[in-house]
């Protein structure tokens, strides 16, 4: 038996929305960063589902590149977060507000 593709797409849309909501609501920088990772993984799920639907590996290959790039981004992002923590001893985004809009 096959799970219909719509299930995967709805699941990934929900995951993506949770990621967007968490990005906007959460106040801890690490959590904000994790919500971006959640969004990226929702995208990966979409790619894999569509790759299965179309019987084309190019979607799965895309997922590998997304994972590699996400890892590179995580390395840089965590370095920036450490620099922020050293400079101000806080990880609350509301306190990183030296410059105001």
């Amino acid at each position: 038996m096959d799970v219909p593709i719509a299930y995967y797409l709805v699941l990934s849309a929900i995951l993506f929305s949770i990621g967007v909501a968490a990005f906007l609501i959460k106040r801890n920088i690490i959590t904000v960063f994790m919500s971006i990772e959640l969004m990226l993984n929702a995208v990966n799920l979409t790619f894999v589902a569509f790759a299965h639907e179309w019987h084309r590996v190019s979607g799965q290959i895309f997922v590998f590149f997304v994972m590699v790039v996400a890892a590179a981004e995580a390395a840089v992002g965590l370095a920036i977060i450490i620099a922020i923590f050293r400079a101000r001893n806080t990880l609350n985004v509301d306190q990183v507000d030296l410059m105001k809009l």
Binding site: A42, F62, A72, I80
Partner: protein, 496 residues
């Protein structure tokens, strides 16, 4: 097609990658007190070499390489040259500004070069996977550059905000690609176009295009996706801001042009009103925001939002006209904006002594060279005739009028009027007599690197303003080569 011949199509990127890796290898071997400036000059040389390699691509017939992933044509060469020139000037300004003993300065040069590789890949990629990788190479380099003064609180804050919102935008961009893949079964831009041309447009493709517009809207800082811009620009080192306000935007605009005009002409009725709105919002919000800024870099950040708006006006025009106007505007904006940041960087120094508009009081008396250059670039940003800024705006609005966008043109012209206020405020400040004697110290002497940077940007702005014919012809060729790809999709699987 032989492998060597294909290599020529990515030669500019290959040269820069090798140069960047070499700089990264040499940097840690240098002692603590050794000057890093020779590394900077090496980077400058490599950018020159890559510029030459880009021009050489004009001699080859337009075509694809590596299974249709790369396409070099007049369009990609135009943006390659633009990006190479921006990075060249930014390197020169960095060499001028940084103290000889700035910690691990070589890494900054390498990052600029790596960023250029990503942006160049974006402009010649015809496969969304490669667009994504290029976008990330350029973005990740820019995140690090923004936070390069890592002991400075503002610099790290700027880097964090840029990083978080940039990755947020990337996720939207990717989700868009995934949905388009679902709708068409391919991520090749030319194949998407032929797929969408033959059947009714699936809903996923429309949503996907919307997501891509959001993602790229963030990258070009178009309103309502502009909120990160002022903070990111205020905290980042000035030479880097000159780079990141022009080069990644030019690359993102090139991608946007390729995606909307090559892949999605079928959805023209959907994306045109969206871009109309983004253009109107960006111009208005950018200019009104700039009016109330006291900090020069924040003011220029809002001005860059407004200029992204002017550029988006060109997207509402007919295809060839609009692409040519947009490419020309990208070049003229880059010339004047990189130039003004060269002045700002030198005047305020690596530790940013001058930040407010009132700090620039008497700049023209302290250093006639810097004052004159500042005045010239501001005049061009306002859009006064005989400068690149004037012709850029002229072609954009003319192309919009040709396709009947009367209201958008009126909004744009009103905005150009508003913009004159804040540019003139900085100009007046720089040319009024300083009241405070402390502000009368002469500026540090301009180095050869700065002079070279100013010569390139000023002559660029003048050429674009007085004899724009040749560059206009180039941008027109670029537009033709981009749109002709629609009628005659490049073969993607013929040379395996």
């Amino acid at each position: 097609m032989t492998a060597n011949f294909q290599l020529l199509r990515i030669l500019p990127e290959v040269i820069l990658t090798i140069a960047g890796v070499l700089i990264m290898l040499i940097e840690p071997l240098l002692g603590h007190s050794t000057s890093r400036k020779p590394l900077g000059w090496f980077a400058v040389l490599s950018v020159f070499a890559s510029l030459a390699a880009s021009f050489a691509q004009l001699g080859m017939a337009a075509g694809t390489a590596y299974y249709g992933v790369i396409q070099t044509d007049a369009f990609s060469v135009f943006f390659h040259v633009l990006i190479a020139l921006i990075v060249l000037v930014s390197l020169l300004v960095t060499i001028d500004t940084a103290n000889a003993n700035t910690e691990s300065l070589g890494e900054l040069f390498a990052l600029m070069v790596f960023g250029a590789v990503g942006m160049m890949l974006m402009t010649s990629a015809t496969e969304l996977l490669l667009v994504f990788i290029g976008l990330e190479i350029s973005s990740i380099s820019t995140y690090i550059m923004a936070g390069f003064r890592r002991k400075n609180v503002k610099s790290t804050e700027s880097s964090l905000k840029y990083f978080l919102l940039g990755s947020f935008a990337t996720a939207f961009f990717l989700y868009g690609i995934a949905l388009i893949f679902g709708a068409t079964g391919t991520t090749d831009i030319n194949a998407i176009a032929s797929q969408l041309g033959t059947s009714a447009v699936p809903m996923f493709a429309t949503i996907g295009l919307g997501m891509i517009l959001i993602g790229l809207g963030f990258k070009v800082s178009a309103a309502p996706f502009h909120v990160w811009t002022p903070d990111a620009y205020e905290g980042a080192p000035s030479p880097v801001v000159g780079l990141m306000s022009t080069a990644p935007k030019a690359a993102a605009f090139a991608v946007l042009l390729r995606i909307v005009y090559v892949a999605f002409p079928a959805l023209h009725a959907h994306w045109q009103p969206l871009l109309w709105l983004m253009a109107a919002f960006s111009m208005t919000i950018g200019n009104l925001g700039a009016l109330r800024q006291q900090n020069v870099k924040r003011m220029l950040a809002y001005s860059s939002i407004a200029h992204a708006g002017y550029l988006l006006v060109a997207f509402t025009a007919l295809s060839t006209d609009g692409i040519a106007a947009a490419s020309f505007y990208a070049m003229s904006y880059a010339a004047m904006n990189v130039g003004i940041f060269a002045v700002v960087s030198h005047a305020s120094g690596y530790d940013e002594r001058l930040s407010l508009i009132s700090d620039y009081r008497g700049l023209a008396y302290r250093s006639p060279l810097l004052g004159g250059a500042l005045g010239f670039f501001l005049i061009s940003l306002i859009g006064i005739p005989f400068t690149g800024g004037f012709f850029g705006k002229f072609y954009v609005f003319a192309s919009a009028l040709h396709s009947g966008m009367v209201w958008l043109t009126i909004i744009g012209l009103v905005n150009s009027g508003i913009a004159a206020f804040y540019y003139l405020r900085l100009l007046a400040s720089a040319y009024s007599k300083p009241t405070n004697n402390a502000l009368l110290d002469p500026m540090p002497r301009a180095s050869f690197a700065l002079l070279l940077a100013l010569v390139i940007t000023i002559s660029g702005t003048l050429i674009l303003g007085i004899v724009p014919g040749q560059i206009l012809a180039m941008s027109h060729n670029a537009a033709v080569s981009l749109t002709s790809g629609i009628a005659n999709p490049a073969p993607s699987a013929t040379h395996q």
